[in-house]
Amino acid sequence: MSEKFDVIVVGAGPAGTSCAYTCAKNGLKVLQIERGEYPGSKNVMGGVLYRKQMEEIIPEFWKEAPLERPVIEQRFWMMDKESAVSFGYKGLEWGKEPYNNFTVLRAPFDQWFAKKGVEQGVLLINETVVLECLTENGKVVGVRTDRPDGDIYADVVVLADGVNSLLAKQLGYHKEFRPDEVALTVMEVINLSKDKINDRFNLEDNQGCTIEIFGDSTKGNLGTAFIYTNKDSINIGVGTTLSSMIKAKLKPYDLLDYLKTHPMVRPLIEGGESAEYLAHLIPEGGYHSVPKVAGNGVLLAGDAAQLVNAIHREGSNMAMASGTMAAETIIAAKERGDFSETSLNQYREKLYQSFIIKDLEKYKDAAHTFEQYPQYFKEYVPMLNRAANKFFTVDGTPKKDKQKEIMKSFTSERGTFRLLQDMYRAWKAVK
């Protein structure tokens, strides 16, 4: 029989590497397997990395990690065809230690993070696909890779193999996605000079800005678009649930083209050169879609456990936190010498007591509500734009009359009862 490890971690994204790093740091023998040429080569996200969870793993990581810019401004646009109502917050204190969050490019960042794991003693193997979990008497005892002599054994296998976790599906933990449980996001990295970015987004060299765009950015469908500033490039992308795309007969790349040529967006990226085109599935089922996360000899972390808060575009932080919790559980289980489902279920308890599941529970019906009642994106965003236009246009009408007129237009367009119903429903979904 081939060599046996304490832990095999499948995947070298934020969840897998957090888990591998923490296990190795605590003296466990860890094998981490990545299918890409190097960690990060196949990983995609919009590009915001949160400071808090990363810092808990590697204190003051910002001093050495390959980051793009600390985010000092977050903007939100409710966008119509030729207008946008925007609000946001810009705080220069976010540009100083300890920072709030950062824009990152995943290829260099994931490589760096995985290297930190290797420095702790993780054995990292790239370009290797895990085909299935090996089980004996109902316990996961290792993995079968696609390489010759490819079976390897461990006390625990951690599946951090991403949103479409084939391994979790094989174990029967996941079912196939429903189209409303998953979003398809397409994005581009557009090279643009540092000076142009600073001018267009009103930034200095070490300051970043994020814009989240609702409404016409998805042609009124459930989803969002985003624009994030890197050092000398911009990440621009758009995603909607698969079900919306199917219903509206939208093609993801058409939607991205629509966004890039939108009169509100075009001037920001004008003259840039497309450097990369990426697409990725995002688990957006939230609370209701979280599968079984712990079994006999096996744990699920990150996207594989569907841990994404779509409303707050949080995912990598949940991946890191869940990876760390998985590691803590494994370390405790190793001390007990017990890797049964009962023992590993400590992980489930940790997850459910943490911000991760609490946040997902808070918004458990939000996506469903917005999907079922498309008026929020399709009607209210344009209404809001018309109202703002009316209110801010100086035409000699007294402001009080304008307010009345705006209220009247709201109630006449939607009806007072429906308006109140919509407001109540939205409040209930996110309260």
């Binding site: 081939s2 060599e3 990292l124 193997i125 290797t128 696609d146 490819g150």
Partner: protein, 275 residues
């Protein structure tokens, strides 16, 4: 049998960009990889060892500390051990100085375990010179056999090896004595998908790193920039060829157009007509 394979870390020239203003390679734009020809050299050593049923494969490289990555890659393919010579004294070496440094390292290696065969890639994809392999052979005073496409037979007891060499219109079958040095073409073998135990061994492997002080009898004036008479005068991206004509339409129409074009330019088909 002790086989030493010389390998080099190179930027992936399939994707590297050349800065059009300075005409230098933008090394940040491409990842560093094991020179593809060298990967085939390692694979051939693995094949020979398998056929003989025994032997040791050592991998040797010169470069900055991060070049240990290509040694690890070679271990994945099946090499037994690897060492890197890395020192500021080697920096800026051309093919002359590189072959000198590598031959000194080879002398040191063969002191511990005599070397029977040295295998190199045909050339590195960044410089395309193909001079280092033969340079090493000359310095070690062993026969160089370049452009090898097949190692047909290795006879250890009679100290000879049967090789096919690629030539312009066919191949040459050669018998050489061992020790000798081969430089290999890509078609010599296909890189096998490494077994898992090799991957684990490579992930753990820490190559030996020698500095210039670990080598014996070195004339430092022959090392690095000092020992490199080569001067790179200019580097440039060849201009894209202009002109040409694209034939449109379905296959029949295109053939028709092509025939007309050829009929108009009969002189193209008559050799030496313009002399």
């Amino acid at each position: 049998m002790h086989i030493v394979v010389c390998v080099k870390q190179v930027p992936d020239t399939k994707i590297i960009k050349i800065n059009p203003k300075t005409n230098t390679l933008d090394r940040r734009s491409a990842p560093a990889i094991l020179n593809p020809y060298d990967a085939h050299a390692v694979q051939e050593a693995v094949k020979i060892k398998k056929v003989l049923g025994k032997g040791t494969i050592s991998v040797l490289s010169m470069g900055p500390p991060q070049a240990v990555a290509v040694i690890k890659k070679s271990i994945e393919i099946g090499a037994d051990r690897g060492l890197l010579i890395s020192d500021r004294a080697f920096a800026g070496a051309d093919t002359l100085a590189t072959s000198y440094a590598l031959s000194k390292a080879l002398e040191r290696i063969s002191k511990d375990m005599p070397v029977d065969l040295v295998i190199c890639g045909k050339h590195a994809i960044d410089g395309d010179t193909g001079q280092v392999g033969p340079g090493i052979a000359r310095r070690l005073d062993i026969p160089p056999v370049t452009n090898v496409i097949e190692v047909s037979e290795v006879n250890e007891s009679e100290k000879r090896i049967l090789i096919k060499r690629k030539i312009t219109n066919g191949y040459e079958l050669i018998q050489a004595q061992i020790p000798c040095l081969l430089t290999v073409e890509k078609e010599i073998n296909s890189i096998e998908y490494s077994p898992m135990p090799n991957m684990i061994k490579a992930a753990r492997y820490e190559p030996v790193i020698w500095s210039v002080n670990d080598l014996e009898g070195v004339d430092r004036t022959q090392l690095g920039l000092k020992g490199s008479p080569t001067i790179v005068g200019k580097m440039f991206t060849p201009p894209k060829p202009e002109g040409g004509k694209r034939l449109e339409g379905n296959a029949d129409e295109q053939i028709q157009q092509l025939m007309e074009l050829l009929n108009d330019k009969k002189e193209l088909l008559q050799p030496n007509s313009n002399k």
